[in-house]
């Protein structure tokens, strides 16, 4: 087997998605020598397969909400720093509900967001909803959740902006370089001393960050640890370009009812937005998967198409030009994993974020603080990977 020295880095980031690129960028900005290792191309996993929602109203914790708000506030500054148009827009976000059960569930989510300080989140009547989204069929809904501060961003631009930005700051990028193994130190505390890629390059590392989305569990396993992380697949499609049809980001109220109470069922709902190019992205059908399965299903796409066209009848005659799927990780409590691992003290995990594009810059900032200063300015205890340690693994479902 070929072995090549790959250099010595303060930080090796594994994963060229939006979280990994943000971590690489913010760590490089603190003056550290960074290597970013990506198995395929930048943003080739879930970071390049999501509709770029900048979500606030249904964040899963006060911490996630706080970080998402910080990201929105600082996006103009980041855009200047990265010198790239991120196509970020404050469009407002709507959660249409079709019946009383959905209305109660979404009202509870909106109420919680308000208690967490998001005063712009509220319930609106179907009439107000149609003023906000003129092409929405008022007959298809009974009410909606709404937050004017939400919006969207071009996820590709964010990934490439951060990747190019960290290179300008001196970081090194290896793409098409899957990790083959970690070189572990001996002794009671096993450090990851080096990262070896499939092509035989070996990078010595001070700190290793695993920000690898759908590959996180397997990478952490290379360090001898088992985390309770499972995977699910989300399917989506995009239409041809068209005139103004959807103003903001739409999340189906259906997703808030009976969430994950039956893990073997596919869950479908209409989540959509119109990109700055005029294409309408329509998601999503979610299914639990064992491995990296990014096949599309006829059943899932069919239901998503039907549900989207019920809300927005003007979608019906549009041509769907592309379908895709992505795999994302999830944890038993639905919270992300962010922090160092006690038994492998120089290994940090940053994965399993919901709507990660809207959190990534804040995650990058926090991780760079953890690495450089040894502490962050927020309490990360609820996200500690320690809570996910499982002897013998975890097969998903249950408490999610």
């Amino acid at each position: 087997m070929r072995k090549l020295p790959g250099g010595r880095y303060d930080v090796v980031v594994v994963g060229g998605g939006v979280i990994g690129c943000a971590v690489a960028y913010f760590v490089a900005r603190r003056g550290l020598k960074v290597l970013l290792v990506e198995r395929a191309g930048l943003g080739s996993g879930a970071s390049g397969a999501n509709p770029g929602f900048l979500v606030l109203s249904y964040r899963e914790s006060p911490l996630a909400l706080q970080m998402a708000r910080e990201v929105l506030m600082r996006l103009p500054e980041l855009e200047r720093e990265l010198d790239i148009g991120l196509q970020a827009e404050r469009t407002g976000g709507l959660i249409p509900v079709k019946n009383t059960a959905e209305e109660q569930a979404v009202a509870a989510v909106i109420d919680q967001a308000q208690r967490w300080g998001l005063s712009s989140a509220r319930m609106v009547t179907s009439r107000e909803a149609v003023e906000l989204e003129p092409r929405l069929d008022p007959g298809s809904i009974v009410a909606a959740g709404y937050c004017a501060d939400e919006g969207r961003i071009n996820p590709f631009r964010l990934v490439y902006g951060l990747a190019c930005g960290c290179q300008r700051l001196g970081a090194t990028l290896w793409t098409h370089a899957p990790v083959r193994r970690f070189h572990l130190g001996t002794g009671p505390l096993r450090r990851v001393e080096a990262v070896e890629t499939e092509d035989g390059r070996i990078a010595e590392a001070g700190v290793v960050v695993v920000a690898a989305g759908a590959w996180t569990r397997e990478l952490v396993r290379m360090a001898g640890l088992e985390l309770a992380i499972c995977y699910e697949r989300g399917e989506a499609m995009v239409t041809e370009r068209t005139g103004p049809l959807v103003r903001g980001i739409i999340t189906d109220g259906e997703f808030f009812v009976g969430y994950r109470d039956n893990r073997n069922l596919m869950r479908t709902g209409a989540c959509l937005t119109q990109t700055s190019s005029g294409n309408v992205v329509v998601a999503q059908a979610t299914t639990e998967v064992d491995g990296y399965d990014i096949r599309n299903t006829y059943q899932g796409l069919r239901e998503v198409a039907a549900k989207a066209a019920r809300y927005f009848p003007a979608l019906a005659p549009l041509q769907v030009i592309r379908c895709w799927a992505a795999v994302t990780p999830y944890t038993p409590d639905g919270q992300p994993a962010l922090g160092f691992l006690r038994d492998v003290p120089n290994l940090l995990v940053a994965a399993s974020f919901h709507s990660a594009v809207g959190l990534a810059p804040a995650v990058g900032q926090v991780v760079s603080d953890l690495i450089v200063d040894g502490r962050a300015n927020v309490d990360l205890t609820p996200w500690s990977p320690e809570r996910l340690w499982r002897e013998g693994g975890w097969s998903g479902g249950g408490g999610c």
Binding site: G41, L42, G48, T175, A305, A309, C323
Partner: protein, 96 residues
């Protein structure tokens, strides 16, 4: 005058050779990477026309044989399909 003509590679998204070469220079070595950076191949024909041109531009720049440049990942639908066609039979309405 002819010097000002932009050489379009992806007609659907009107992406020029210059933009594609810039993406390749910035590190894109597969057709899908060029697509994510430039939008070439994201339009109505989904790269059916331009992906071979893009592959050959990558081959020229990287010195790889064109056959070794990773082609785009094939995605459904094979031809564009209306949302209403896709939805047919779902939710108990229409013909199954």
């Amino acid at each position: 005058m002819f010097g000002l003509v932009r050489e379009i590679i992806c007609r659907c998204e009107e992406i020029t050779r210059e933009e594609i070469e810039e993406a390749i220079a910035s590190g894109a070595v597969t057709v899908d990477e060029v697509k994510r950076v430039t939008r070439a191949g994201m339009g109505f024909c989904q790269g059916r026309t331009c992906w071979r041109l893009i592959a050959s531009l990558i081959a020229n720049r990287t010195g790889k044989p064109v056959g070794e440049v990773l082609p785009p990942r094939p995605r459904s639908p094979v031809r564009p399909l209306r949302v209403e066609e896709m939805a047919r039979g779902a939710l108990g309405d229409g013909v199954r």
